[in-house]
């Protein structure tokens, strides 16, 4: 029983981080329709900025976090201005390839700058975990969970409740018509990409201290982020959040009760199963024919 409870608690914490990874990507992939292969690299960059901010710059842990997020925002804006803006109107594969290229450059760049040895980020939280009956959880992870939930809430609000969010959704459904409505579509593109990137960086900055920081950390994270986004329905922030928790649950229980070798397989099997029964993800968009 305690083992099961421990698994559930782990799910909650892991799910929060997965959800965070998913929502950043859902903005760029789900809303902007850019198959963003820099997401993993941006996640890595967020973690390294956090590392630098804490160690080299000596900013406190809590000041370093917004620094990393800001770093992601800036890098995202630069990527968009330099690589995506000139290709506006090009088809999805073109931008996908450019993003693959940019991802490779960013990843090898971090390897070049920081070397392959993993870094670890010191945190102000106590090592001793919080004990709740038989189960325990570290303070750091609790903090990450709450920060992730806060960011998810913020993004949801931004997309669904603000004028900017309205303009974002309009732009990506029909950018000509959005322009006719007076939306500054160029700005919206850049802003959306930057915000999505900053969320990836936030995920990296939050998870960097939980795990360790190394140049390839983004690889699997990216793959899972794609899965989460699709599970939750493209462009659906709430869906991505829920998708993150579902994936975490599948992995956790799969590893705990079936076989740890098939841990990641559990997540992917869930995805296949979901798509067989609900081919448009858990939260489908309404569409019509004719």
């Amino acid at each position: 029983m305690t083992e099961f409870l421990q698994h559930l608690l782990n799910t909650l914490v892991l799910g929060g981080t997965y959800a965070l990874l998913g929502i950043g990507l859902t903005l760029i992939f789900g809303i902007m329709n850019v198959v963003n292969f820099t997401h993993g690299a941006l996640y890595t960059v967020g973690a390294y900025v956090m590392y630098l901010a804490v160690t080299a710059l000596g900013l406190g842990f809590f000041a370093a976090l917004p620094t990393a997020i800001l770093g992601g925002l800036l890098l995202g804006a630069i990527l968009d201005l330099a690589l995506l803006r000139p290709l506006r109107g090009a088809d999805m594969d073109t931008t996908m390839l450019v993003m693959i290229g940019a991802g490779i450059v960013l990843q090898s760049g971090t390897l070049w700058l920081f070397g392959g040895v993993a870094k670890s980020i010191p945190t102000p939280f106590p090592d001793a975990p919080l004990q709740l009956g038989g189960v325990s959880v570290s303070w750091l992870r609790l903090f990450v969970l709450s920060a992730a939930l806060a960011l998810i809430g913020l993004t949801y609000w931004l997309i669904n409740r603000t004028r900017l969010g309205l303009a974002m959704r309009a732009t990506f459904q029909d950018h000509d018509t959005a322009a006719l409505m007076g939306v500054n579509v160029r700005l919206i593109y850049t802003a959306t990409f930057a915000i999505g990137s900053s969320l990836a960086a936030a995920a990296g900055a939050l998870l960097g201290p939980v795990y360790v920081v190394f140049p390839q950390m983004g690889g699997m994270a990216e793959l899972k982020a794609f899965a989460i986004v699709i599970l939750g329905g493209l462009g659906n922030v709430t869906g991505a959040a829920i998708g993150g928790f579902i994936l975490a649950l599948a992995e956790e229980l799969g590893a705990g009760y079936i076989s740890s070798g098939y841990r990641d397989a559990m997540g992917f099997l869930i995805i296949i199963a979901v798509l067989i029964f609900k081919p448009t993800g858990l939260f489908a968009k309404a569409e019509r024919i004719g």
């Binding site: 421990q6 698994h7 993993a118 090592d127 699997m220 992995e251 705990g256 740890s260």
Partner: protein, 362 residues
């Protein structure tokens, strides 16, 4: 000097194993420089031709091809991971070129009948054998395993399991984790619930750090012993902090106590040189393999008396050298007629105690 002797170095410099591969190459450079400063081998300088195998077996094979055919290196060192080494091996046979294997631990490397392979790292069976005498002293009763899901982890779990069963120790859970996995809470939660007294872990240093942190967070308190010899305790202490306290590690090198190593002078020289070049101390537990590897190759060239592949291969069989972790002498391994060479290094058990690496009294 007439012409330099070229040694092909086939290591992962990018991709997941980039850090380790780079350490090994740095160690190799120290050895080459040292040998050249002393006048080289057979009157010729050594020249390392370093190529990146991108942590990818196909690339590792391609790199071997390039080194042998296009750079004309008569001998290779590499290729860090077992799958990388295994991918290179058919090329060795094709071109009849010997290779010194410095890190890989898969048993297959020396048992598959490739007579061009000479290994100085211990396969996990050897390591288990070295650990056997300590089992009773530590009082192990029931042991769980947590291993990285690759040749190294699987091999270690299998070989240690066999050895322990032979000593009457119960083997409990055998859990695995993916190479790139970062969150092992699920496996650890399961292991926490088991009644084993000891957990044997096989994983690279980064994952060990994560594991120790996550164990602390879950309140998992058991005797921890890691295997494999490239755990790099200093990095663990630096990164996992108090979470690593009390853990034990099987290593093949004792850089903290140069005087206790088989060749104190060489160890001291190597460590000094390493520091002089501005590398992180933590890297020495990996890089010494590169250092020993090149010294072994130099010895083989010396003994073989020629700079062609065949002489060097012959030379390997008569190498007798005291490496940083024990004698390097190749014994025959694998099917008769096409045996590979396997050397048997020392294995030590160290413990992290008060933020320091100590050799526990057993």
């Amino acid at each position: 000097y007439a012409q330099a002797i070229r040694i092909g170095v086939n290591e992962p410099l990018t991709g997941p194993f980039a850090a380790s591969g780079t350490y090994v190459v740095n160690g190799a450079r120290i050895a080459a420089d040292e040998i050249n400063a002393k006048g080289g081998v057979l009157g010729k300088k050594l020249e390392l031709v370093v190529e990146d195998n991108k942590s990818n077996p196909t690339e590792a094979a391609a790199v071997a091809e390039k080194l042998i055919t296009s750079d004309k290196t008569p001998v290779l060192m590499g290729a860090w991971g077992s799958s990388l080494t295994l991918a290179v091996m058919p090329k060795l046979a094709d071109y009849e070129t010997p290779m010194l294997v410095e890190t890989s631990s898969s048993g297959k490397i020396t048992t598959s009948g490739n007579p061009y392979v000479f290994r100085i790292s211990p396969p996990s069976a050897l390591e288990a054998e070295a650990f056997a005498p300590m089992v009773e002293k530590l009082g192990l009763k029931k042991v769980d395993f947590l291993a990285i899901n690759n040749d190294w982890g699987r091999g270690a779990a299998a070989d240690f399991g066999k050895m322990l069963k032979g000593k009457g120790v119960t083997v409990g859970l055998v859990e695995t984790m993916d190479q790139g996995a970062q969150d092992m809470s699920a496996q650890l939660s399961k292991l926490k619930g088991s009644d084993a007294d000891t957990l044997l872990i096989t994983a690279a240093v980064d994952q060990l750090t994560l594991l120790f942190k996550q164990m602390a967070a879950l309140g998992l308190k058991k005797r921890i012993i890691t295997t494999g010899g490239s755990q790099n305790p200093d990095q663990i202490i630096a990164q996992a902090g108090t979470a690593a306290e009390g853990t034990m590690h099987l290593t093949t090198f004792l850089p903290w106590y140069p005087e206790k190593t088989p060749n104190p002078a060489a160890t001291a020289y190597f460590i000094a040189e390493w520091k002089k070049r501005g590398f992180e101390f933590a890297g020495v537990t990996e890089s010494f393999r590169g250092y020993d590897g090149i010294r072994t190759i130099a010895a083989a060239i010396e003994k073989g008396g020629g700079t062609d592949a065949a002489s060097i291969r012959k030379g390997f069989w008569s190498v007798d050298l005291t490496g940083l972790n024990g004698p390097v002498r190749f014994a025959k391994a694998g099917p008769a007629g096409s045996e590979s060479g396997q050397s048997k290094p020392d294995v030590y058990l160290v413990k992290i105690d008060g933020g320091k690496v100590v050799v526990p009294e057993l």
